[in-house]
């Protein structure tokens, strides 16, 4: 081993710095690693997508500031996907015209499933950062698809395990309101199953069209039904509208839900919120890395990151770390590397890895409680974290769908 003196070390460092500054053209001319980013920026999920995009860009900029990956610069090419039809077209465009190496993103389950098929045909790795349908991890799982976002069962079991301990499920009479598309149907299947398996009564379910502006009729109907709990399987602006109007009518029945996204809850405002929910991540989380991420994101964008932002940020970091570890940008190599159980820091104080048989990221989720308004620091401070699910010593599998619940016939590479 040769010893390098302090002087030589400094010289080399200065030389490297000058090199980077002096010849940016060379760096650019090198083959960049292109990441195709798909997410709705318009439509009823557009608000969530806006946060996702900010976070994806932050992750890429941070990686480039560190010198890129494998000595190559990372380039993010982002597209707006307001519906599944556009999502497919944009995915194809990213692969064929922009020649991206990987795909990442999406929030709508319907769009995500469609993108997954395009990725599979092109044999390109696709990291899902925001859609929840169990179907994508089960019946329609595939080799090139990996899920950073939690699935519907994870959300359901996280709040369900807590509710069960509180004695809210056994003998409880619940009524469901469900978004009428892939995500909602899947979530209703999972959440109603959990209810009946744990001794509760399902009073009924309304399939609600997305983009509804008025829920008064549903709320009046609930008044007549008088359930013990109203279980909400809605997403995006639908969640906001419902929460506001539910409060407007002063409905007395407790509210819980299959999925909680912070942005629609912020838009509803703390006054319209009640009860206990579940979250994949919350910006007030104190685990190592989280406060720093919140700080960097807030400084750049003037507002804290939501759960979607966390998903895209961590998703990009996982992707880039895998490229560095596998020393390859070939999707096949990365799939193999991820399936071998590569470990990742996802800002939750516990390492995460992908389950080999369905590619779901095994990770912690959180039960959260709506904060007392007097204690809220600002308009974004709406939750207190009640507990982690599973707890630190427990197996990740406790909130996961079992093989029997969600069989995945994983096809060959």
């Amino acid at each position: 081993m040769t010893r390098i003196g302090r002087r030589e070390f400094l010289k080399a460092g200065a030389g490297a710095a000058v090199g980077t500054l002096g010849f940016p053209a060379i760096l650019r001319a090198q083959d960049t690693i292109k990441v195709g980013h798909l997410t709705p920026r318009t439509g009823f999920l557009g608000q969530l997508g806006a946060y996702g995009f900010m976070a994806a860009q932050l992750a890429v900029d941070e990686a480039n500031a560190r010198g890129g990956v494998l000595g190559r610069k990372v380039e993010l090419i982002s597209e707006d996907t307001p519906n599944p039809g556009v999502a497919v077209t944009k995915a194809q465009k990213l692969i064929e015209r922009d020649q991206v190496h990987f795909l990442i993103g999406e929030i709508s389950s319907a769009s995500g499933l469609a993108i997954s098929e395009v990725a599979q045909r092109a044999k390109i790795l696709y990291v899902n950062t925001g859609w929840n349908s169990d179907e994508g991890r089960g019946a329609r799982c595939q080799r090139y698809l990996f899920h950073v976002e939690g699935c519907n069962t994870m959300y359901t079991k996280t709040i369900g395990r807590w509710q069960e301990r509180q004695g809210k499920i056994k003998g409880g009479r619940w009524y469901f309101l469900t978004a009428d598309y892939a995500f909602g149907h899947d979530l209703y299947r999972v959440s109603s199953k959990f209810l009946s398996e744990h001794g509760g009564t399902n009073l009924g379910n309304d399939m609600v069209p997305t983009g509804s502006l008025d829920y008064s009729s549903y709320i009046l109907k609930l008044r007549a039904i008088k359930p013990d709990l109203v279980y909400l399987n809605l997403a995006g602006t639908d969640q906001t509208t419902f929460l506001k109007q539910y409060r407007e009518f002063g409905s007395p029945f407790p509210l819980a839900g299959g999925v909680m996204d912070t942005v629609p809850f912020w838009a509803a405002g703390i006054d319209a919120l009640t009860g206990y929910w579940q979250s994949l991540w919350y910006h007030d989380l104190k685990e190592p890395g989280s406060p720093e991420f919140t700080k960097r994101f807030s400084e750049r964008n003037g507002k804290p990151p939501d759960n979607q932002a966390w998903g895209e940020y961590v998703g990009i970091r996982i992707l880039l770390q895998a490229i560095a570890e596998a020393k390859s940008t070939r999707s096949q190599d990365l799939v193999a590397h991820l399936e071998k159980g590569a470990k990742f820091d996802i800002l939750k104080g516990r390492e995460a890895w992908f389950r080999d048989w369905d590619h779901q990221l095994l990770q912690t989720m959180y039960v959260v409680r709506v904060k007392d308004k007097a204690k809220a620091k600002d308009q974004w401070d709406i939750f207190e974290i009640v507990e982690a699910q599973p707890a630190k010593g427990e197996s990740y599998e406790l909130i996961q769908p079992t093989k029997a619940e969600n069989p995945c016939p994983m096809p060959a590479l």
């Binding site: 608000q47 008025d214 009729s217 009046l220 407007e248 912020w266």
Partner: protein, 294 residues
Amino acid sequence: MPPLTLPILIEHVANGLLVGAYFVTLALGLSLIFGLGGVINLAHGAFYALGAYLAFEVQRQAGFGPALILSPLLVALLGMGIESLFLRRLYRGDPLLGLLFTFGLAMVGEQAIRIAWGTTGLPFQIPEGLRGFVALGEFIYSRYRLFAIAVTALAILGVWLALEKTPYGMIVRAGTRDPEMVRALGISLRPVLTAVFGCGVALAGLAGVLSAPLAGVHPAMGTEIGTAAFVVVVIGGLGSFWGPVLAGLLVGVIRSLMVLFWPPAAEASMYALMALILLLRPRGLLGERWEQFE
């Protein structure tokens, strides 16, 4: 499904009428603009969204009351500016030009809102004094919604009075039937067209303000509502004042009853109604025969 009793049925019909009132405000403005200028204003939804956003700003400074008056006025001023700068050049040309222009305007409007206020929704709470409920025996209803219906009714009444009882309204009515004759009488329709456009978009703005505390404020809100407004106008019939009013209320009631009986079809019900009306009575429920379109 809850046990179907008469009170529940009445409750849903009443709620439907209240929800419908809000469709009426939107559709009436659209119908007015179309009636006189022959312009299908695809940017109607954008004016609606703008009304909500301006109300958000005014409310922050001065409260909800001023917002309710000021915001539609600002929308009207902007609308009149756009009308006299751009839209008026297109009246005589191909109707397609007006369509393209307002379509572009809608996109520009939504993007401008995104740039000015950001992409995420803004929390817009129900004003302090209007929270809570009114109990009428068995029925409990939101105080704010009752207030909104009163404002809507006043606005509709105001437009009706202006059209029917003022000399200016007479020119508007004459202008919608026979613009050539009005011109031959030496009356210029230009200022009338500008005023009607302003009035129409002010109604859209008002609907935006009223719905903001209920549905929240976000950039795509105009796109969502625009289509509904067209459907109501088509059902009601072009060129009639009471057509959009009747159609708006009808759409509200049918939607509310569908929620009670078969929720998945709640949103689709108004399109089904439109298809049915177009098949049986193409000019709409109260539409008059319109020579220039037949």
